[in-house]
C-alpha cells in the first residue's frame, strides 16, 4: 500500500499550527484552530468532518485563497504564507482545486475547450497548437471526446460530465497537489463511482498528491491512504485509513462511523446517535470541543484542551479518554 512508501518520502505539503479566523459581527470565529498535518508525495489524505468543521477553510488556507491568521503552509520546502504577488502565482500552478458544485464552477458562457485552455493562456502559453494539443490530451484522459465537447457550453452537460471538465481544467497545468473539496457530494450514486474511479486513475497517471475533503466517510475511505478527522476547527484523529476505520480512537470518529446508513436491512440502524448537534464555532466549548456531545466527557475534558498523541493502533488522537490504546 502507498502508506508504507509515503512514509519514506518527505511530505510535499506540511501545514503547521494553522489558525484561520473570521471576524463575524464584532466577534471572532475560529474556523481552523491550531491544525498541523502533512501530506506525503503521492499520498491521498482524506479530511473528514461535518459542515462547519473548518475542512473547506483549511483547504482554501493551503492555497492562500484565505490567508491564515497564524501558522505556516509549507509546500515543497517553501512557506506559502510568506509568499505573495508573482511568487505566489507561480507556486499556485503546482496546486489546484476541484470544487463541490461542478456546474457552478464553470463559466456558463464559455465553451469547454476554452475553459480547459484558460489556465494555459494565463500561464503565458501563446502557441495555439500546443494549447490545443494539451487540451485534447487532458480531455481524452478524463473520458471526454475532445471533438464532441470542444465547442459545447457547460449547460449541455450533466453534473458528472461537468466534474470531468473541472478535473481536466485542474490537471492541465500538471499540478503536484490537487485539493478536492467535496468533489462528488453533488453527484448521483452511479456517477459518483465513475468520478471517484477517475480521480484514482488520474492520480496514478499524473503522479498526483491529493487532499480529499469530504463529509462522507465511505467515499473518503475509498480513495485515501490516511484520514484526518476534524471537529469544530480542530483535529480529533489522524491515522492510516484502515486503522481509523477498524479501531477509531476518538469518540467522534466512532460516532461518525456509527451514523452512516448501511445498505443492508439485516444491520439495525444505530439508535440514539449522539445527542445534539455541533455547537456554534463562534462560541466553542472550553477544553475538548467535542465534550458537549461525548459520552465519555468528564471535568478534565472541560478544563484542558487534549493534544494529539500517538496510540498503539498507529494513529494519533486528541482525546483524554480515547477508545483504544
Amino acid at each position: 500500500m502507498a502508506d508504507s512508501t509515503s512514509r519514506l518520502n518527505a511530505p510535499l505539503l506540511s501545514v503547521e499550527q494553522l489558525v484561520v479566523e473570521y471576524p463575524v459581527s464584532g466577534r471572532t470565529l475560529s474556523a481552523v484552530a491550531d491544525v498541523s498535518l502533512t501530506v506525503g508525495r503521492g499520498e491521498t489524505l482524506g479530511l473528514v468532518g461535518e459542515s462547519g468543521c473548518g475542512k473547506s477553510t483549511l483547504g482554501r488556507a493551503v492555497l492562500q485563497l484565505r490567508r491564515p491568521t497564524a501558522g505556516k503552509v509549507v509546500f515543497d520546502g517553501a512557506d506559502l504564507t510568506a509568499l505573495d504577488g508573482e511568487a505566489l502565482r507561480l507556486m499556485r500552478r503546482r496546486l489546484q482545486l476541484i470544487f463541490q458544485d461542478p456546474i457552478a464552477s464553470l463559466n456558463p458562457r464559455r465553451c469547454i475547450g476554452d475553459i480547459v485552455a484558460e489556465p494555459l493562456v494565463i500561464t503565458g502559453i501563446t502557441d495555439r497548437n500546443e494549447r490545443e494539443r494539451r487540451v485534447r490530451d487532458v480531455l481524452a484522459a478524463v473520458g471526454l471526446d475532445p471533438d464532441v465537447v470542444w465547442r459545447r457550453l457547460p449547460h449541455e452537460f450533466s453534473g458528472g460530465q461537468c466534474q470531468r471538465v473541472c478535473i481536466a481544467r485542474a490537471l492541465i497545468l500538471e499540478p503536484e497537489l490537487v485539493i478536492c473539496d467535496e468533489p462528488v457530494s453533488a453527484l448521483d450514486v452511479s456517477i459518483r463511482a465513475q468520478i471517484l474511479n477517475l480521480l484514482e486513475e488520474m492520480k496514478q497517471r499524473y503522479g498526483l498528491t491529493l487532499l480529499f475533503i469530504a463529509h462522507d466517510l465511505a467515499v473518503v475511505k475509498a480513495v485515501s491512504d490516511r484520514i484526518a478527522v476534524m471537529y469544530l476547527g480542530r483535529l480529533c484523529e489522524v491515522g492510516p485509513t484502515e486503522a481509523v476505520f477498524d479501531r477509531p480512537a476518538h469518540p467522534y470518529t466512532a460516532l461518525l462511523l456509527e451514523a452512516i446508513p448501511v445498505p443492508d436491512p439485516t444491520v439495525m440502524p444505530a439508535t440514539n446517535i449522539a445527542t445534539g448537534e455541533p455547537p456554534s464555532p463562534l462560541d466553542p466549548p472550553s477544553g475538548c470541543r467535542f465534550r458537549t456531545r461525548c459520552p465519555r466527557a468528564d471535568r478534565l475534558c472541560a478544563e484542558k484542551v487534549p493534544i494529539l498523541q500517538a496510540t498503539a493502533g498507529g494513529q494519533t488522537v486528541a482525546c483524554h479518554h480515547p477508545l483504544t490504546g
Binding site: S190, Q194, N197, P269
Partner: protein, 330 residues
Amino acid sequence: MTRALLSLEDVSVELPTPRGTLRAVDKVDLSLMPGRTLGIVGESGCGKTMLSRAILQLLPKRAKLSGRVRFGGHDLAALPAESLRRLRGPELAVVFQDPMTSLNPVLTIGTQLIETLQAHLGMDGAAAARRSVDLLAAVGIPAPAQRLRQYPHQLSGGMRQRVAIAIALSCEPKLLVADEPTTALDVTVQAQILDLLAREQRRRQMAMILITHDLGVVAGRTDEVAVMYAGRVVERAPTAQLFARMRMPYTEALLAAIPKLDSPPHTTLPAIAGRPPDPTRPMPGCSFSPRCRYADDHCRHAKPTLADPERSGGFYACWHPLTLPAAVGT
C-alpha cells in the same frame, strides 16, 4: 382484508419543455397499507419527486397527470381544491428536503405551528400554543417554549427539519410523505432525524413514504422498497427480500456503486457506465438497457413490464432478471 390507504393506478406525469414533452413519471402502480412504510429510491431525474408531488397533488400547473391517485376512498386528482385543503394536515402531510424553503422565514416557529393547529383542528390559541410546545418536545427540540418565539433562521438545519416534522405531525396525518428529508443534513443529524421519523411513524401507526437516493437510508427503515429508473418503478419488493434477492440489474448496479465501508482503500468501484436516458426521448425498449451489462437486442426493442411471475412478492421489470443472490460488496 384491509384496504390500501393509498393506491396509484397507471399514474403518469408529463411536463411540456422546450425540447418536447418530458415524461417524468411513466405508468406507475403502487399501493400502501395503513401504518406501513414504503421507500422510493432512485437517482436525480428518475421521477421520484414528481411521483410524490402527484400523490400530494402539488404538481406544477403545466404538468399533466393521468391515471388515478386514490387515497382513503378519494380520487385525489378529481377532488376540488377546498376538499384537498381539508385533507392536507389531518390526512396527508409532507416533509421536504430543505426546511429553510418549506418554513416561512418571516413568521416565528410558534405562529407556523399554532396556525396549522387552528386552521385544521379548530383549536383555540391557548390550546394550540400548549400543543405546539408538546409537539416540539416530542421531536426532540430543547427548550421548546422559547423556540416558539424564534424564527427559522435562528435554528440549525437539523432543528429546522425537526420543526418541519413537528408541523407535519401536528394534525396526526394518516400518511406522511418525506421527500429526501435528510439529504441536506450532516450524517450524525441525518441518523437522528431518521430515528425520529421511524419512532413517530411507529408510535402513531402512520403510513410513511420515504423518498431518497440512498439505498442505505431505506434498508433498515422501511417495510417495502420501490426502485425507480427513468420514470418507472423497475423493482418493488419487501425490503429484506429486495436486499437479499434483488432481481433487477439496475438495483444491483446501484447498490454495488456505493463505496463500502468494509472494502479496503483504493478498491475500484463498480461504476454504472453512461448516464440515465433523456426523458424527452422515450425509448422503445428497457430504459436501462444502454447501461446494462445483461442487455441484448430484445431488451433494446421491447419494454418489460413490472410483474411478479414467481409470485414471491417481488416485482421486477426485466427480461433477464438476476437469478443468484445479489453479490453484495463485490
